[in-house]
Symmetry: C2
């Protein structure tokens, strides 16, 4: 047996190595997954492999919101039932999916593609900020919700966007920070707890 291939098959070795390149998947899990695929029909494995190849080759970014899309305009932007006067600005497509899963937002999104981070060499021009400004300028947008991560970079980006968007007649808000539902006060960090007191909201008894 060749010392470069721990298995009796180079094909098996290749497939295992491909899986092990994925984040969070080690060699043992990779092998387990490959052996699972080997027990599936040829057609099923073909569908499996081609799903990723097709996705990567055919995926587009929505010309309006920069979200991932199969078409020029994504399904969310194309949905006439959604409120096009409210834009939610997020860092990336994962955030769109997370917010969509809450079923609490019926407006449209704008995906920045990251946040301003001088440490990583990401400046405003690397993000879809000009696209956002143009979108606000040419559309009847009433409110912009900034839903970026509560990090230094997120705050910097929030401030930059605020400066860029305040000349327009739009309301700018950010998502509420506070104690997570179900969390105990004593385990909350001080900054979150402090903010949740400063930004307290009227109590509405049901």
């Amino acid at each position: 047996m060749n010392s470069n291939t721990p298995y009796s098959s180079v094909l098996l070795d290749n497939a295992t190595k491909e899986f092990a390149k994925l984040p969070g998947i080690g060699k043992k899990t990779a092998l387990r997954l490959v052996l699972h695929l080997l027990r599936q029909s040829k057609e099923e494995v073909e569908n499996f492999g081609n799903a990723f190849i097709t996705l990567r080759n055919e995926i587009q970014y929505c010309k309006v919101c920069h979200n991932i899309s199969d078409t020029e305009i994504c399904q969310i932007c194309a949905d006439q039932r959604r409120d096009s006067s409210t834009l939610c600005v997020v860092e990336n497509i994962n955030d769109v999916i997370s917010i969509e899963n809450t079923q609490q937002f019926k407006g449209l999104y704008h995906v920045l593609g990251g946040v301003i981070s001088p440490m990583s060499g990401i400046g405003p021009s690397d993000l879809s900020i000009d696209m956002l400004v143009e979108r606000v300028r040419t559309n009847p947008v009433k409110e912009i919700i900034l839903a970026l991560s509560p990090t230094m970079e997120g705050d910097t980006t929030n401030f930059y966007l605020y400066k860029k968007l305040s000349p327009f007649n739009v309301e700018i808000s950010t998502i509420a920070r506070g104690i997570s539902i179900g969390d105990e006060l004593e385990y909350a960090d001080e900054i979150t707890l402090g903010r949740s007191i400063v930004n307290r909201i009227p109590y509405i008894g049901n």
Copy 2:
């Protein structure tokens, strides 16, 4: 957005569903893996997808030992440096890989493809047992090591193989059962501990 596709893209949805079909991979992990692939180059994703398709389409089973192989005869059986007079009988290809990783066995293997399990409808004819008997009959095999799982089915299969192989002039052994290296006696199960006392071995002081 279509209620059948939680994401803004059918392609993304398909790829995520394909990952989520794998054992131990949930929806969230599947999405994380797909988004990771999206950040890779087209070529890399093509290599990823094709590795599995090629494996599934081109893989063969070794004509000698029934191990997984790229060629008619697997790399282990074809290796002239290995001891062809000792055969290790295992349940499946995972076991070959596990034993190979120990680097303690220099003989050849015979992969049964399972164990006799009347409950699951697996009889001797569903396994490569006839192939094993033929192999022992036509080759100068001196020892057969039965390395099946210590389960009811494994024991049944061991006994069946013993009956089939005892007419030939071969030594038949099974792998040692006992306390794992590093394990504490008090946590070992009674059967394993009992067997390790019954099958005690001479102590060789180093």
